[in-house]
């Protein structure tokens, strides 16, 4: 049996708890941005994803993503029901922590990814359809992509694609799925008119919880309490900060006010973009990545507003584009001086890495786009995707959950 390290184990378990907190935090972020009549349904999407994917991951999700490899495409069923996932380490992934700690940490990534998509179809998707979509999407989209990029023997990992904590696996997949889901569902009633956020304090509280949890997301991905975790922690914080500063500045210049919404959105854009790079780049590069991502995502949000796709909470322009920017910039700024297990990027004399990153991004975009459409069509064949017009006007809190968020 490999020797367990108490510090590494403690850090990864705490990181799993931090990442867990991100999902209800995301619910508050999204919940603050929707109208009052839909806040509970939005919170419910995130909380339900936490519950249902926790069970799906133990039963079959983990083994599809991280089970013994089958031709680089998918994991086999050796870890079905967490069979063999116990106190002993799995040296293929982390030699100094229990296999169960690694699997738990990865569970929280599997939980938050479908929860991220819910921002696109907020305020109009039937709860039962959301439930079925989430289970199918996690199984058919998230689990295979996680295997390709992170699984031992996964084909994108074997090519040398770098994704420290989920730029492709989590953010591009959820962002592209959000675009497809918003397109298939169609716009909300009154789309194009102002749908003002009902509680920006809730939105900022949610963004703060998400930022806090992201330390576990990125620094925990070192899978050890070591110097790499510290670098990833620093990079995470500074990219979020620079993203907030850059987005706020553009908003102040273009819209006339340094809005609270702009710093929240900018910090999220910075966090997303540094995710694939956190353990491969210097803190100075992290500042650049955070700033570039904020500019790119701001432009993407403005362009999205001109499209006839009602991605209600801008999941695609922030997660899809932010994840893409981060994945590509990893191929530019990565250096083995930070992580000897990684690769040098374009700036360090290895342009091939950028091409590998471009391939990984393209593959995840195309696969996610096609399979999300297929999943939505499967769900549609079983039940309607969206609520009736009357239910939408009434609000999803009452029509779907028979509850109201506030007493008055």
């Amino acid at each position: 049996m490999e020797k367990l390290n108490a510090g590494d184990t403690a850090w990864v378990l705490v990181s799993a708890a931090l990442v867990m907190l991100m999902t209800p935090g995301l619910g508050f972020f999204y919940g603050g941005l929707v109208r009052q009549k839909n806040v509970l349904s939005t919170l419910m999407h995130s909380f339900f994803a936490l519950c249902v994917i926790s069970v799906q991951w133990v039963l079959w999700g983990y083994t599809l993503a991280f089970g013994p490899d089958w031709h680089g495409v998918i994991g086999t069923f050796a870890f079905l029901g967490f069979n063999g996932v116990g106190a002993a380490p799995n040296p293929d992934y982390a030699a100094t922590i229990p296999h169960a700690a690694f699997a738990l940490f990865q569970m929280m990534f599997a939980v938050i990814t479908p929860a991220l998509i819910t921002g696109a179809f907020a305020e109009r998707k039937r709860f039962a359809a959301f439930v079925l979509f989430t289970i199918l999407w996690a199984t058919l989209v998230y689990d295979p992509i996680a295997h390709w990029v992170w699984g031992h023997g996964g084909w994108l990992a074997s090519l040398g694609a770098l994704d420290f904590a989920g730029g492709t696996v989590v953010h591009i997949s959820s962002g592209v799925a959000a675009l497809v889901a918003a397109w298939v569902l169609g716009p909300r009633i009154g789309s194009g008119k102002e749908h003002a956020p009902h509680d920006r304090t809730m939105m900022l509280l949610g963004a703060s919880l998400v930022w806090f949890g992201w330390f576990g997301f990125n620094a925990g991905s070192a899978l050890a309490a070591n110097g790499l975790a510290a670098i990833a922690f620093v990079n995470t914080n500074v990219a979020a900060a620079m993203g907030a500063l850059a987005w706020m500045t553009i908003a102040w210049w273009r819209e006339g006010a340094p809005s609270v919404t702009s710093v929240a959105a900018g910090s999220i854009a910075g966090l997303i973009a540094i995710t694939p790079a956190a353990g491969y780049v210097t803190p100075a590069a992290a500042i650049l990545i955070g700033g570039i991502a904020a500019v790119g995502c701001y432009i993407a949000v403005r362009l999205r507003e001109r499209m006839h796709v009602d991605d209600a909470l801008d999941v695609f322009p922030v997660h899809g584009i932010g994840g893409t920017i981060g994945a590509l910039l990893t191929g530019v700024f990565a250096t083995t001086a930070i992580n000897a297990a990684g690769s040098n990027g374009l700036l360090y004399g290895n342009p091939r890495q950028l091409l590998i990153q471009l391939l990984a991004v393209t593959v995840v975009w195309v696969y996610t786009g096609v399979m999300t459409y297929v999943v939505l069509k499967i769900v549609t064949s079983i039940m309607p995707l969206r609520v009736t017009e009357r239910e939408e006007q009434l609000g999803l809190d009452v029509s779907q959950h028979a509850e109201a968020a506030y007493a008055n």
Binding site: L59, L80, I382
Partner: protein, 41 residues
Amino acid sequence: MDIALALGSFLVLVAAWIAIGRRAEQLQLVVAPEEEQLDAA
């Protein structure tokens, strides 16, 4: 054995969610004309 039971119980839940979701659709179809009559009244 415990894995089979756990898998089975989760799949029963999924089947229940699908059944409830489909039943709710049928109820909507029944309720909708009544609501229209109420609206008209």
